[in-house]
Amino acid sequence: MEPLVQVEGLRVIARKDGGEAPIVKDVGFSIPKGEVLALIGESGSGKTTIALALLGYARRGCRIAGGSIRIGGTRVLELTPGQLYELRGRKVSYIAQSAAAAFNPMKTIMDQVIEGALIHGTSTRAEAEAKAVDLFAALALPDPEGIGSRYPHQVSGGQLQRLMAAMALITDPELVVLDEPTTALDVTTQIEVLRAFKKVVRERGATAVYVSHDLAVVAQMADRILVLSDGEMRETGATAQILARPRHPYTRSLLAAAAPQVRGEGEPRGDAPLLEIRGLVAGYGRPDASGMPAARVLDNVDLAIARGSTLGVIGESGSGKTTLARVVAGLVPAARGTVLFDGKPLPTNLKERTREQFRRIQIVFQNADTVLNPAHSVERILARPLAFYHGVRGEEARKRIARLLDLVKLPAALAARRPAELSGGQKQRVNLARALAAEPDLVLCDEVTSALDTIVGAAVLDLLAELRRELGVSLMFISHDISTVRAVCDQVMVLYSGCKVDAGSRKALASPPFHPYADLLIASVPELRTGWLDGLPARLAVESPPPGAEKPARGLCTFLDRCPVRIAGVCDREPPPRRDLGGGKEILCHHTRAELEALQTA
């Protein structure tokens, strides 16, 4: 049988520095009806460009220079603009990465979901609305009858992403293009969306192109995988084959980076912890009469970091993990609680800190693109902490800068460049080198690998482990990604809504019992094998609450409204106790160790 989609010799070129450079080189593939093909690669691999080309579209500054695309009986690249208008949203539809940016906040969800059907005249408004409600139900959205009358800000991010799928499917397109549809979501939310997508794709026999950088996600969704890098096809094959027997070295390196290895354990030295925090409360907004901030982001957090060891802090967006680092760095004042650094109280206000305290604690911010001053050269960026903390200038400073660049594995020639001339990974290394220039005792790493491609991120993790071994610095490693935390941390704590719900050693993170939220978080991380999504235990089917939903009353468990194992009459009445589970493991939960073990091994 003839495949539904046939792409041959596709070339896309982009304007660059006055000339033109190909960004997609001679790519060809075919998709039989009812199959899902994944395009996988790192940023700049051309995967999104190819996906957009299927709609006959090229981004500004790019143009499709050659090749052919056939979808059903339509030759996409030979269409006039008017015919393309008929194609898009009717025969081929597109699901973008950020649903929040794709929805118009001023119109109801139903109006936007059925808009495509009305524009293309495939059905009347009443038919389209009935069909939309069916789709909402198929996508496991709560209240399928009523959700259409809400506005986009009234539903959660995961729900919005599924509503976008409904929007794309309303015209029964022949091909659906999904462009990183779950990348912007928290891992626990990602599951809801993946499940719904998978169900709909299977039930409707949809043909789809799934663009992603995440092999584990793709393993759940795709029948076949096409591996891309630098706009060229590296390997194509069935999902199981690519995962089990990759042929191309690039595929192998992608696979290796997707499953991070544990990078050497730290050796805690001395018994007094380097950093100790007790009963920390912090937040933003005007303090009230008792000195509590209007928006409390961290509530009663305790932690300790031993010398030379690494503490991982995990949580989803809004859990307060970045605020924690900013309190330690002195950028956010603490409303309550004490911070002890090297046994001595550390002022949480910038003005009261000594230069020595500043030097010993360094923070590495998440976004390497905005953390280096675009007006300064790399040399100047690195020279500043040297002069500021150590009074080193001139020839000696130049030598030290060369050493620092060497330490983070950057060529010395980079010193003269400005940040705009560096790649993402290089910027993150300079960012790290700047912190190391201070010769700190404690480095706060805030999502340092999150904005990087898997392979580059893995290299940065290797670097961190090496620096720890060689320089003996302690790290606070903040991340939303459990597998990276597992790879570099000795101790791990889990934050949820500003509360420390679970804490223990890295080993404690490997097997139950966990706090119910930690359980959800750990089990939600996609595994690199097909069929993982289908085999998930039922307790993970948790709907995330819409934004602005009422939080559990202060004092009660913050996870109450999402907890799949809450005990009626107990969890909604009394604050959860802090339970010591032995071996340094503690959780904030009403369930006993035995109960949790029984629930989580089931």
Binding site: A329, L331, R355, T370, N373
Partner: protein
Amino acid sequence: MSAIPVGLVRSGWRTATSLPIAGRVGLLFVVFWLAVAIFGPSIAPHDVGAVVSPDAFAPLTAAYPLGTDYLGRDMLSRILHAARFTVGLALVAALAASATGTTLALIAATAGGWIDEVMSRLMDAFISIPSKMLALVMVAAFGSSAGLLILTAALSYTPGAYRIARSLAVNVKTLEYVQAARARGERLAYVAGMEILPNMVNPMLADFGLRFVFVVLLLSGMSFLGLGVQPPDADLGSLVRENIGGLFEGAPAVVTPAIAIATLTVSVNLLIDAISGRATRVVEN
């Protein structure tokens, strides 16, 4: 010549040749008027006050390329002298306005809190005074002099520069590299001068050009009303006023200074548009 000026000249030339055509025209005229302001008086064919011709409002002739004025003085020499006043006064006043505005804005933005609040409200109060009115009142109260004109123009345009600079500084301040500097323990003065300022220089330069144009127009307007530069000195605005009697005869004496003002202000605008347009393109890439 040492290596650095050569490099500067080269990079300047590269910038100039990369400008769009309108920007190049603007640059050409800006350079021309700067040259006139610097060298004009020394290359003027006649003395600025000398009555050289019996004909008032004479047309363009080989002897007097831009004609003569209402007393029979050489218009070319008059304009070459007047340009120095117009460009010089406006340059000093615009520099003062931009520098003061930027400095105050940096202080307000980095200090924040009540300092920012007080300064911003004060500037809001200033900005509500029409600049022409302020200038008229100042001249009425203190009499006209070059110093007073500069002070008045600078005072009128500082609040605008402050507003622009503050909004830029507040945006830059929230960026992570500024946060990183704060977490490093840097003093506010370093944060303001070394981290924030370099990243607002380009838009502030564009703003400076705009203020320069405003000041030229304000000073010319004042002189036209007879309240600006006083005889025997004259700026371009005074030249228009002196020769207004020739308007009905179609005398070049009234048109040429007006054209001079127009080319000066329009070319500065063209150049600014080209440069700031280029800056945004660079950011987009």
